[in-house]
């Protein structure tokens, strides 16, 4: 059994209530931080922990916190990114639904460290029931004196609010999220200035993912060094992986970073192997935006080393033979799955979710969807395959936010590793490994 930091008490009955959560040691980090530590002391422990952003980018959290403009006399904000919308990713929903107080405790301790007096949790609107769970838990925390004026008798005060989104993948991008929180369309901002200088309402702001913030209480309670002792190299601590697709046991698992992909995929403790005795074809390891890898490259690197669940090992080989840990959305495809159809589906997603601000993304995602649609539906040309590569290249790096890359990488990697399957679709449209429903679903919105 690997070390559990976030999900240790997930199975305890009533853990969603303040009473049970406190019995299991909950809110200790708030007491410790406020009574025994300085805000900078908390930031220091988070730096020492080596914790990296768990939303997908993997940027060191302590460093992000230290960029916060301390000279500014404006209010500072901590905003939690709970807009979880990356296909394949469902860990934050699980965490907030089961242990809402863990996120709230993390928000209080982190807000103290950053000097924020008002903080927000931005939850995607579709998770309305999660918003209700969080609101109930926040009310409990206010009643117990963990939120509001003079928390635990200290001179630190904090208000915490939950903000619903309205249905937009792009709002997971931190500046689009801030625009949305200001009551606007979710159009990402040009950077710099970064949110640490010009964030919510033009004030210094830190935006962190749910899981990142939920890691902070353990780090404060046990020390940054203890956290850094878990994991391998620069991949410290644990990570929530949401596993789905053709596996025996889809679900949310907390792993110690450094676990081998093979063990994660095949052991009974985690995915339990490929479902129905089929063979593994490919894996998208970190949410739909990261490059897809064929079976042989997800289990071992191009240098024939065991592939590990770490930021470094998964990206070994760059995008030629590697991928990314990303959000931890682990999507498994068995040998029945059609790569072309899956790619068309994902590309339709990015086309639908492009905010429309930058032409390469707005137009390019639509072109890619159209070309993939015709290949998948038996009207493709051989030249379409290179056309897709070309369009993907012309989106990448030419947009304000990373949605451009998110749309381009799956296309480039699918063709890199599965070109023969695309060619076969063009040559013989009926040869597809899975008999598809060649029927259109209407674009409803």
């Amino acid at each position: 059994m690997g070390k559990k930091i976030l999900l240790e008490h997930v199975a305890v009955p009533g853990i969603h209530t303040l009473e049970v959560y406190r019995k299991m040691g909950g809110y200790e980090s708030v007491r410790k931080a406020l009574k025994e530590m300085t805000p900078d002391g908390v930031v220091e422990e988070v730096k020492k922990s080596g914790l990296r952003g768990r939303g997908g980018a993997g940027f060191p959290t302590g460093m992000k916190w230290s960029f916060l403009d301390k000279k500014s006399d404006k209010p500072r904000y901590l905003v939690c990114n709970a807009d979880e919308s990356e296909p394949g990713t469902f860990k934050d929903r699980y965490l907030m639904e089961r242990i809402p107080h863990l996120l709230i405790e993390g928000m209080i301790t982190s807000s103290f460290a950053l000097g924020a007096r008002t903080s927000y949790i931005y939850v995607r609107g579709e998770m309305m029931y999660v918003i209700r769970i969080l609101e109930k838990a926040i009310a409990e925390a206010y009643a117990a004196g963990f939120l509001g004026k003079n928390i635990l008798g200290s001179d630190y005060s904090l208000d915490l609010h939950v903000q619903p989104g309205g249905g937009a993948y792009i709002c997971g991008e931190e500046t689009a999220l801030l625009e949305s929180l200001e009551g606007k369309r979710g159009n990402p901002r040009n950077k710099p200035p970064f949110p640490a200088v010009w964030g919510l309402y033009g004030c210094p702001t830190v935006v962190n993912n749910v899981e990142t913030i939920a890691d902070v209480p353990w780090i404060v309670n046990n020390g940054g060094d203890a956290y850094a002792a878990i994991g391998i190299g620069k991949s410290t601590g644990t990570k929530l992986i949401s596993a789905c697709g053709n596996i025996s046991k889809p679900g949310v698992y907390e792993i110690e970073l450094g676990l081998s992909v093979e063990e994660f995929l095949n052991s009974e403790e985690y995915c339990g192997g490929i479902a129905n005795g089929r063979a593994l074809k490919a894996v998208v390891a970190g949410g739909s935006s990261v490059p897809i890898l064929p079976a042989e490259l997800i289990l071992t690197t191009a240098n024939n080393e065991k592939r590990l669940m770490t930021y470094e090992s998964l990206s070994d080989g760059g995008f030629v033979t590697g991928t990314m840990l990303g959000s931890g959305g682990f999507i498994v495809f068995d040998d029945q799955q059609c790569i072309v159809r899956n790619l068309w589906n994902f590309t339709r997603f990015y086309h639908h979710e492009s905010c429309g601000q930058c032409s390469p993304c707005r137009e390019g995602t639509g072109w890619m969807e159209k070309v993939l649609h015709r290949i998948e539906h038996g009207h493709g040309k051989m030249s379409d395959i290179d056309l897709l590569v070309d369009v993907a290249k012309k989106i990448e790096g030419k947009t304000i936010c990373p949605l451009g890359e998110a749309a381009a990488w799956p296309v480039a990697s699918a063709i890199r590793h599965f070109r023969a399957e695309f060619e076969e679709h063009v040559r013989n449209p009926d040869s597809c490994v899975k008999k598809h429903l060649h029927r259109e679903l209407v674009h409803a919105h």
Partner: protein, 162 residues
């Protein structure tokens, strides 16, 4: 009257979540309330939202049309929002959308003649491990591990409730 007295009170409370002068932040929460009350967001409702939040109507229109959860055209009493993204499709979401269309006699995006149901395929709902998944506003409860039998039951229950 677009908003009831108790709703107006609720809206005032929401405005207090934000700093002085930043009440525009209340727009998304208030649009959710308006849609819950009216089923969708006709122009007069959006205009009233603009009024209670002291915004220009265009500020409300441009936001309501950006986010997929807001219905700016009439919809049925129950909008069946079914995930159509990759992981759900690999466990049968497309077949279930077609089943729903045939069962209700409408296409995706359409509303049944009795005004009860609209089918609306949506993108990933973060339930990829428990798909296929469908949700129905205004509570947006998740119906996971969806099957034809579960759809039959759900439609029967909603018809009985209506």
């Amino acid at each position: 009257m677009v908003f009831s007295e108790s709703r107006l009170k609720e809206i005032e409370e929401i405005k207090h979540r934000y700093p002085e002068g930043r009440h525009k932040s209340a727009l998304l929460p208030v649009l959710h309330l308006a849609q819950e009350d009216h089923g969708w967001l006709p122009v007069d409702v959006m205009d009233e939202v603009a009024k209670v939040l002291d915004l220009h109507p265009i500020e409300v229109y441009e936001v309501a049309t950006f986010y997929t959860m807001f219905h700016v055209k009439p919809v049925g009493k129950y909008v069946l929002e079914v995930c159509r993204t990759g992981p759900c499709c690999n466990v049968g979401a497309e077949e279930l959308i077609i089943y729903l269309e045939e069962k209700l006699g409408i296409q995706s995006g359409e509303t049944t003649p009795d005004g009860l149901f609209t089918i609306k395929p949506v993108e990933c709902l973060a339930a990829c491990g428990t798909g296929p998944v469908l949700q129905i506003g205004p509570k947006y409860h998740y119906h996971e591990h969806l099957t034809k039998e579960k759809i039959d039951q759900l439609i029967d229950d909603l018809r009985a409730k209506a």
